[in-house]
Symmetry: C2
Subunit: 262 residues, 2 copies
Amino acid sequence: MTLNTIIHGDCINELKKFHDNSIDLIFADPPYNMQLENTLYRPDNTKVAGVDDDWDKFDSFSEYDNFCTAWLRECRRILKDTGSIWVIGSYHNIFRVGNIMLDLGFWILNDVTWHKTNPMPNFMGTRFTNATETLLWCSKGKEYKKYTFNHKLMKKYNGNKQMTSVWRIGLCVGEERIKGEDGKKAHSTQKPEELVKRVILSATKQGDIVLDPFFGTGTTGAVAKKLKRQFIGIEKEEEYITLANKRIDSSNIYFEEADWAE
Amino acid sequence: MTLNTIIHGDCINELKKFHDNSIDLIFADPPYNMQLENTLYRPDNTKVAGVDDDWDKFDSFSEYDNFCTAWLRECRRILKDTGSIWVIGSYHNIFRVGNIMLDLGFWILNDVTWHKTNPMPNFMGTRFTNATETLLWCSKGKEYKKYTFNHKLMKKYNGNKQMTSVWRIGLCVGEERIKGEDGKKAHSTQKPEELVKRVILSATKQGDIVLDPFFGTGTTGAVAKKLKRQFIGIEKEEEYITLANKRIDSSNIYFEEADWAE
DNA sequence: TATAAAGGTGAATCCGCAC
DNA sequence: AGTGCGGATTCACCTTTAT
């Protein structure tokens, strides 16, 4: 398997080509199946640019469940016994995903809450502001107890206090957000690097292999490189791959290893 | 249906006696009952000896799923079209519960994160400190849009800013925690009143009927009374009912309605 | 150049009634 | 079920323009 490259293809097909027990960490940001219908307007009558990408559309729960069962089953197969997987989602999909992961035998280590510092408000006043997404961190199963977790490092990273399962991180905006030639966001759901940094830093060692089956514009690859880990990406859309390669080429090491050594 | 009383009996059996469309709000804190050694039962009520193999694992999920499907189906039936339901859980069970609720047709309005200000640390350093529980707030279905939500009131309650789906609340300790005659906590999972207060305040009007099918030591009843709502409790254990009745008798109004009127 | 004001925007299941 | 229209509804942060 070639490292530090992006595979252009269908996630499930490509995952099937991987060897058993070959990956140290999987970070997956699958489609959420948001089921948006009408256009949403802000109080000032401007439109909200919602997620209306084709890749987020599924006809039913059962179709979504089948899709997730297939890619998650392959993920479990190719994960090393010492490896672990992170899957991010919102309330639209995380209960489907979590249920499937349990059924497949994954063992939940934490449900980490990404507490957004600057979420979009609920303009109509019909609900509470939806201020979180959820990350499920799982080992291969209950009996796989030797997963990598850099406890001391994360404690140090967190000002010498044990890090909790609530992470306060802002949305990916400004300079960090990859723009297309039209100046608009290139990907509708790009994640902040700080989020992925905590994932990789906590659950891998230097040189480990990180796989992202929904690579998008390459946040996982960029952060892996900056943290001296190796990555493999799988992505269906060619435009995203082009942007991701460019982005990763220009990524540099975040900081010296000594700063974060255990 | 007699109001402001506790029904002594089995949750599913008792729920079946309720009329359709008769309840304004349901707050449910079901047993987590997951993956705990030596307490698993097969459908025929025989004990499962070990839980190490996949067969037993599947058996336990399936048992729990059946139980939750049964009581949640009844909850949906007896909820008014303008009503809503809140279910609290941890990562051990909330993905089973959420998946079942979606399958039954419930419509998720928010996944509220109870961010504990004083969680128990992970002493072994094997995971992040588990600092949250999740509350699923759902209407009867996608097409039921007239659920009660006191938006302005909650905004006022939150210092004139829209309340978000993250609630920072401490564990139920000290004076508030109900003690048995031995001075030990009477119930192992008593919830803080502030949590239930936000639930009832946001999703009911004065005089509305609040049902708690897992009443325990009566937090829901105490808070409902303090907020001038009516309650019905269902509880299997007689000791809890005794404690709950005593507690509710000595509960008084929190504050004047005018303070929180919309 | 500095500060202030104005404008843009984010994984969003976001109205209710009359016809 | 679909359409049309009156009316109520927002927070943090970043960028651009104006003073």
